[in-house]
Symmetry: D2
Subunit: 337 residues, 4 copies
């Protein structure tokens, strides 16, 4: 932490800060510049929690030096994490594909998809049981029945199951049926949900919030890790910008950035990230090119009949073409499928 | 709803859509333009839920005509709502001021503030018991103890109590102690929380999400109203933009916009909206000038010692000056204090 | 300037930076923290221009301490500037109103408006002669003929004339006819235009760019001032965000922020800032409440017939109501009309 | 164009619009819905320029149906454009690489780079002669001398030369020395510059503005094409968002979107798009994966000594690795190098 003093700060202002830091067992390094004095704070900055230094006489601003998260940081753990899920894993050499419908709609639909995915060599199926929808009049999901159908799909095919939990009261229910809990973009800063999912120890896909910086996203991961659950897969799914042609702006730079800052694996969801099925294939290739550890893809046997997010879902044929692309591009980036 | 066809759409494409609409008991008005055909859909558009028209052959895009929310709309209720809370109210001629510390820190602090607010003619005290914080290492609030201290402040002063609830499991607890439940910006699309608070029937302050459009905000209100709770006060608190000098960008245009679109009252929180105490007073004047029904202000007997958000809190003297400004400006806009 | 070293930086890395700074005649204050070393650079940071310190071995990031602009800064000139224009001025106690049509359309129109404004006590008329339009197929303005008509309006009424210049080749032409040159939002970083207008010495209204931070805006002013022209009036006109209901998001916080950082006057354009005539009056009140030195308002005798931006223009009656509001609110903020 | 009427619109309101459209020789198709009436306008919508329909009694909003640009549209020209430049081209099967320093700094530097690029099989060299810089105190480029050095580099190596022109008065100068004129992000809506460059007929690299939608970008291209210059290469270089870790947010979705909407080629500049040299290689792979027609890359023999933008420049070794990656990935997307 660096404290930047105003050009008008007095010697007494600076003394007062030195005294405060001393009382907190923190060191102070004073640099007197031509226009400003700056004070470097030495020691555990968490001792400063709740001390509004900004308000002290003569202080202009505070500049944090160390990132606020610790367990999620690559400084803390230099080697990349590999998250084990059943007999599979995410974050290693092999690219992970999580695919399936936006919403679980019924037995026939989900079993058909599961069998298709199995035949394609995919290891994870996704499907929404509880759907966060902007309007209360939109389809809200099959709820527990949806979880049950996903579990049935796993039994019939061996696929691992990923599904979103939108509130703490559904966590126990989810834990019974599913393998990976997804925290959606709108809940990325639902801190109570993060804490509870941290206690559960199940692997978690943590989507980036629509208006979240990468630092806030890693702080959200830190909430989960602080409770003891280190099995986190980050998922870039687009941020909100002024561009309206796409549903969101898929920020693929976050992939190499996360790789620099954190040891956690990161996958990309080009379906929500663009909102248009015609963009899913090129943006999937781009994601793997950028270094992502995998993809989350919305697909549906018949997108025209999907109960939600049809416009961004691929059909079986389109999904097959995407898988071929990914297979070929994986070799260029030193990965496999 | 208007369906815009591609310039390459065939007659058969158009026929197929007509047949589909017919099956759904919806009418179709076809306009054949020079370059495009457009189809106006006549009837209850909710019959179209889950029908991804965008994917049908020849369709270019869909254009919604009617806003998706109903109960929150001024079309549905032309006269402005006044929300009754105890012997007070928000939304009528009298401007409401909700003031208090970011976080309840202890008995002495909250009682001192409550007595001061009472002496200033303020009717509502706010204070956080559960604090949503970006980092898990920051102060998270006194939790239930915080609610109890707020209730004690009410007993000693008669002030009405506003406090945030961050997860459904704390709703019953909150209902015991507080008068108005605040839904924070990060939870504006925590739909399960919205539903549960809708069933509770307590007045709700619904803050705008950091990345939420005004339409999404009114949809969030609709979630609460759909469960039967019409006692909603909207609160503008800034949106996230590229500007970094202020913590958020306070979007004061949302005040007259909400007044056009909805009958619900709207207040403004310039403390979170700017993140700097020096901006709170001018932006409070601006908010009332724009037509807001009231303000939510962070203040603290000694901002330098506040456990959270000190930099944006006013002290008693600054708060006094703000109240004078507001009193004078209220007359210009035909309101009173 | 503070140089933050990586946690992995070696002693040699630090030595190398010390040596470099020495060679540049800059001092270095080293603070060795628990996790990081930081180096405060002492001296004229402009000596560092073109030295990519970020790339030196062991460097994590650079943190600027002093704002990059100087002449525009309140540190440089503590008292507020008052810009003299003819017998009038902007920035003093008296609020300035600049009003008129988006585009000059013809003699009859501009003279009718000028006489009306004169009768209302307004001192400045605005009108576009060169119009920057998103589409090349939209009306682009009357060009030089527009400037001439504005000059004629001045002759007949004594009003001072404000009009936009969109490219350096029209500056001499503009200088002949008009009193205040407007630099539009799209040209805020047209640095050649800024330099040329700086040499011209005419008063300048400098609009904020759609995607410009307040710091970049003040840097743009610095370009003009560096050439010797200190007669700058800043104009907030909305920034681009994800909200689509309004044309832009009017960032009124910029008003008190600019007042803190700079001595230059700042006015607000709620017409472009919102894009809707129904929002102009409330947002004008808000702007004055926030402390603006004046307003720029689009109005038209018959907005329904305006050749551009009709939807955001006021008619005479609406403009009259706005003027009354402003008159009353000006007293609350210690200004006059 | 569709006119959506308010729910309160009267029959007379609708009649009046019908009469107006009739007078303008436009047809009207009326659809009377349950809640609203909508009017489809049939005919050349440019007849409506300057008619503010939004202000007519009973009108709620206007919904444009056809995109506003024509010459740049894929509807107008279905096959992809290939831009011929000297003996080379951009937009065909072969990926284009434009590389070089941010700024031309001197003969030795630019010739060294040119020879290196030649040896790597690169066909285009870029280098700034006129630099748009946020602060007037930053290095502004060598101006005409810079153009001359670029021309010298072409003579010695045969490379084609790309350089930015920041104002109309430098266009003739540029035309003498360089092969491709770059319009920078800050000038994307400098409409006078667009018009003049349109008359010049030289190939143009048109960068996307920091706050520009894809539609506005294509409109900017339309300005150039309307003057007769069809030789346009679009260049995605990142948009401004709330994320601060990267300098901009590189919006790679714009690549497949532009491919859908327009026939013009599109390249990607990951150097400005991210502002960090460590991200350039992964984002270059991503850009080609997304379908870009080429890359614009900043590189420098010694980034630590670059006079501008050093932190985002690659050195020769890093550039070599990038070229290898691109070569391998080009095959996956059916392109060649």
């Amino acid at each position: 932490m660096v404290i930047v003093m105003k050009s008008t700060a007095t010697k007494e202002d600076i003394k007062q800060i030195e005294r405060l830091l001393e009382r907190l067992d923190l060191g102070a390094h004073i640099s007197t510049g031509m226009e400003r004095t700056i004070i470097g704070v030495i020691g555990d900055k968490r001792l400063l929690e709740g001390v509004p230094l900004e308000l002290m006489s003569g202080v202009d601003k505070l500049v944090p030096i160390v990132e606020p998260y610790k367990l999620a940081s690559r400084t803390f753990q230099p080697e990349s994490s590999i998250i084990r899920i059943g007999n599979s894993s995410i974050g290693g050499e092999k690219l992970a594909v999580i695919a399936g419908p936006c919403a679980v709609e019924g037995e026939e639909q989900i079993i058909e998809i599961a069998k298709y995915l199995k035949s394609m060599g995919v290891e994870f199926i996704r499907g929404g049981a509880y759907k966060p929808r902007t309007s209360p009049y939109s389809f809200q999901g099959l709820e527990e029945e949806g979880f049950k159908l996903l579990a049935q799909a796993r039994e019939e095919t061996g696929l691992l199951v990923v599904s979103e939990v939108i509130s703490t009261e559904f966590l126990d229910q989810a834990a019974k049926y599913i393998d990976v809990i997804q925290i959606g973009a709108r809940n990325m800063q639902n801190f109570q949900l993060l804490r509870e999912v941290g206690r559960l120890k199940k692997p978690v896909v943590l989507k980036r919030g629509l208006a979240s910086t990468i630092e806030e996203w890693l702080n959200a991961a830190e909430y989960i890790m602080k409770e003891g659950n280190y099995n986190i897969i980050l998922c870039e799914r687009g941020i909100r910008t002024f561009e309206t042609y796409t549903r969101n702006t898929l920020d693929l730079s976050s992939v190499p950035v996360v790789k620099e800052l954190s040891h956690l694996p990161i996958i990309v969801d080009p379906s929500h990230g663009t909102g248009r099925s015609s963009l899913v294939r090129p943006m999937s290739r781009a994601a793997i090119g950028a270094g992502a550890d995998g993809l989350m893809i919305e697909m549906h046997p018949n997108p025209k009949l999907a109960l939600s997010d049809g416009p961004q879902s691929l059909d079986f044929k389109e999904f097959g073409l995407l898988m071929e692309d990914i297979k070929r591009i994986s070799q260029v980036v030193g990965r496999e499928m």
